[in-house]
Symmetry: C3
Subunit: 224 residues, 3 copies
């Protein structure tokens, strides 16, 4: 380690709310999202660099957008080597080992649901900590959870799946709403965060098992 | 209202240049742009969440990009609940009522032209207020007007219509240029802003009625 | 020149590391990248405005993304009229003169390689100057070189060529890595920067001449 600026020795409060368990969970969420990005890159037959870009974008993109919008720059994901390194490693492992990754589809979906809950909750807390209005903080928390996947899909010219598939964003929004409600009452932060993450996780898993989805528009088919 | 930080009780000068009439116009522009975003979502048969995302992106995206680029974070559209709430409401109304929205096509085009003029002018003023060079301020004013629609089109994997259709961006640029010229002479801000917005509105309406457009490249057809 | 704020009379150190030769090289890189953007716009038969948007996005987009991420706002490319004016001029020249531009294909590829090296090196230096971790600084330097082209391709709904084509990003990363290594040892900045830019340039030219590319994923073809 060369530079020893405090920013990345002590990440800002709200990102990783203290404790190495939470840092580990945050990095695990980054890794799982990065695998989802790399898997899309493999599907589109990108080269190893393209697969790694999609891994990093999917792994840290949601937090990057949130931090740029609230003015927390440089973003937490760039304030240190941990997040990008974890995402790059997940990308390389997926690139070289993707037949094995394919067999891990179910555990990856479960980890992805856990990462969604964790990111939605920590993103909401960070936005509240920066003084944003609760309605906006909940939307930014949701965006922290879904933004990486949206950027991933944009980079391969697909309409983001979160805009038209199962109950994914709503689960993130529910977790974020729990944090906002707890902040308003006010209740102690840690149990509220756990409840929010658990609610998001449970909704997402239930939606996967039962095929829940939101109503779709019944408009005319696209002309293009 | 829970938090009472001054940022969203007193939005920064330049965004809404004082007076509830201007705030109302700004919110009306957001609503009309949000309807255009939601209508694209309906066309692509997104679910209700996707339609709302496109509404918010189209309604506040141009101002978000401008504010992030000039360092005015958190952006005006996120500093308070008004803008996102208006955009979400416009998205939901469009989702549930889109056959009715379709019959409103002409008034929506007129409001859209008004929103374009308003956003181009207020975006230019804000950029000048942050000390940017007049050439750059005019471009950022134009971007405030057209950015939301560009993000909307990117999210559904379309080439932004503003890059290849009728005289839309040039109208925004003309309105922005009036503000820059008035700032340079200098002339009083309010009548200059009105003149710029009116010029943009008139150019856009004339372009719609007469089918004006810019010259296109005569190059080889796309290979892809 | 109307406003005389010091920001764009004295661009921040690290962007243009002193001296009009380096400013000239930076502007030359912007112009060449802008030509690549305008050429894509011509290929897709955009109108003159769309071609200019692609020129500006390709010319200054990489630096914009970098500056927004590290918190250097307003970005160097917007702090003054030079960068946008050069990019717009390159866009207009390409629009009106594109058959002639086509004949210049080889010199443009050479200049593009030079621009890539220059942007990768100056982007890395700027990120280091803002206190970012060396691993992150190298990635941001690479992003400065490739970001404009990625945005250009996104705007025409193409998967960015840098994600799947010849050795382009890796050349930028190699140049960035030289700067990081020189900063770590530490060695004097100027010769290190020259070495990094030259390495990037040489790798890119060699890749073009010999058809080098990175391994591609061998996964299933895309279903979409």
């Amino acid at each position: 380690m060369i530079v020893s600026s405090p920013e990345y020795l002590n990440p800002p409060l709200g990102t990783v709310p203290a404790g190495s368990l939470l840092l580990a969970l945050d990095l695990a969420g980054t890794a799982v999202f990065a695998v989802s990005g790399a898997a899309v890159g493999v599907k589109y037959r990108l080269d190893v660099f393209g697969v790694c870009v999609l891994a990093v974008v999917a792994g840290v993109g949601g937090g990057l957008i949130r931090d740029v919008l609230i003015g927390a720059v440089p973003p937490a994901a760039l304030a240190g080597w941990r997040y990008v390194t974890v995402a790059l490693a997940a990308g390389l492992i997926t690139f070289w080992g993707h037949p094995g990754i394919e067999r891990l589809r179910t555990p990856i979906l479960v980890f992805d649901a856990a990462g969604l809950g964790l990111f939605a909750v920590s993103g909401t807390e960070k936005a509240l900590g920066f003084g944003l209005h609760p309605v906006v903080a909940a939307l930014l928390g949701m965006l922290t959870g879904i933004g990486g996947g949206m950027l991933r899909d944009l980079l391969v010219s697909e309409i983001p799946t979160v805009l038209r598939s199962e109950l994914y964003a709503l689960a993130a929004l529910a977790g974020a709403a729990v944090v906002v409600a707890g902040h308003w009452l006010p209740l102690p932060a840690a149990p509220v965060a756990l409840t929010g993450a658990a609610l998001c996780f449970a909704m997402r898993i239930a939606a996967l098992r039962r095929g829940w989805s939101l109503p779709r528009a019944t408009g005319a088919p696209p002309e293009g």
